[in-house]
């Protein structure tokens, strides 16, 4: 450590044999003249102007941010809403397609039940179950009396009631 200090002192002594250039009197004259010119050109900035200017800048920035937020929400909200409605509409049409398939009374009932608010009391639930059972019974009876024709788009390879009998 002492050795390093000695070496540093030696280097410092060596460096002190030199010195940096000093600003010349011509440079002083030139720079002070330039600075005085700038002094006279710039209006004195009053002390109250600084906080007022900062306040104005902050207010302008706040207004800009609010305007930006409003604009972006105005732009994005309708797009989001239309997307949501499309989805709901799509969901409804999917449910409506259920009525095209066999057991259409049941499907229609399920669709209407789906669209109703959820059942909360016991009597309504019992009524709902009764209705479903009745519809299923009716459907079963109809099926026994008259087998349904294959729906459009349904594979003809699927065995019907008579088809099953023919295999046996």
């Amino acid at each position: 450590m002492n050795d390093k200090d000695t070496q540093n002192e030696q280097l410092e002594r060596f460096m002190r044999k030199t010195h940096l250039h000093k600003p010349s009197p011509e440079l002083k004259e030139q720079i002070t003249a330039e600075a005085t010119k700038a002094w006279n050109q710039t209006s004195p900035e009053l002390s109250w102007q600084i906080p007022v200017r900062r306040l104005l800048v902050s207010a302008a920035a706040a207004v800009f941010v609010i305007w930006l937020a409003n604009s972006s929400s105005d732009y994005l909200l309708p797009r989001w809403q239309s997307g949501g409605l499309n989805y709901a509409h799509q969901q409804r049409s999917d449910l409506d397609e259920l009525t095209e398939i066999p057991y259409s009374p049941l499907a229609r009932h399920l669709v209407s039940a789906r669209r109703k608010p959820s059942i909360t009391n016991a009597s309504a639930l019992r009524n709902y179950a009764d209705t479903v059972l009745r519809i299923l019974d009716e459907a079963q009876q109809n099926r026994v009396s008259k087998p349904p024709a294959p729906a459009e788009g349904r594979s003809s390879l699927l065995p019907t009631q008579s088809g099953i009998n023919s295999y046996s």
């Binding site: 280097l11 044999k17 030199t18 600003p23 440079l27 002083k28 720079i31 330039e34 005085t36 006279n40």
Partner: protein, 187 residues
């Protein structure tokens, strides 16, 4: 003139006199500012920019900036630190302009000279200047402020807005590198 007298002359103007002149919008403050800061700022800019011409150009810009910000300067908590910050900012933007090639000047001009009364060879100052120029800028500025402007670590830390330990370690590392670079010259 003796260097210690130079220091006393360009340093010891009280803060309150300068603040009063600035606050009263008195153009005589330019002269006071020059007397107080020109020597230190010029030395600082010389070692940062490694060019006398560039240092002169930037010194002028610094003084114009000081004048433009005179009312803020009058209220600054630390006058010296505020002035140095202006100088550092101007030097940095000048260096970035120089890197972009907008303003290229010779860097091999001398900004370090032998003091009178020493009989060392002339190229000693040149070698020392070259070695200093090879140091990283943060180490170079601390070394020059300490050795050529006789500032303490505490003063340098206040001027540059750095912790005192950082300043001391920059000085130590800088001196170590400089010793290695000037090995043949010192021994």
């Amino acid at each position: 003139m003796n260097r210690s007298w130079d220091n006393i002359l360009d340093k010891k103007l009280p803060d309150n006199m300068l603040r009063a002149a600035l606050a009263q919008n008195d153009p005589a403050a330019v002269e006071l500012m020059w007397d107080r800061y020109a020597g230190d700022l010029f030395a600082y800019l010389l070692v940062v920019l490694c060019s006398r011409h560039d240092a002169e150009d930037v010194l002028q810009t610094v003084f114009v900036r000081i004048v433009e910000k005179r009312h803020r300067l009058a209220k600054a908590r630390n006058l010296d630190a505020y002035v140095y910050r202006i100088a550092r900012n101007e030097a940095s933007s000048f260096i970035s302009r120089r890197k972009r090639g907008q303003k290229v000047k010779s860097l091999d001009e001398s900004w370090l000279i032998m003091s009178e009364g020493h009989k060392e060879p002339d190229d000693m100052a040149e070698q020392l200047q070259t070695a200093l120029a090879r140091l990283p800028q943060p180490q170079r500025e601390v070394i020059v402020m300490k050795i050529y402007r006789q500032k303490t670590f505490l003063e340098i830390s206040r001027l540059l807005g750095l912790p005192q330990n950082t300043v001391a370690s920059r000085y130590r590392y800088g001196m170590k590198k400089l010793r290695t670079l000037l090995e043949n010259l010192i021994l």
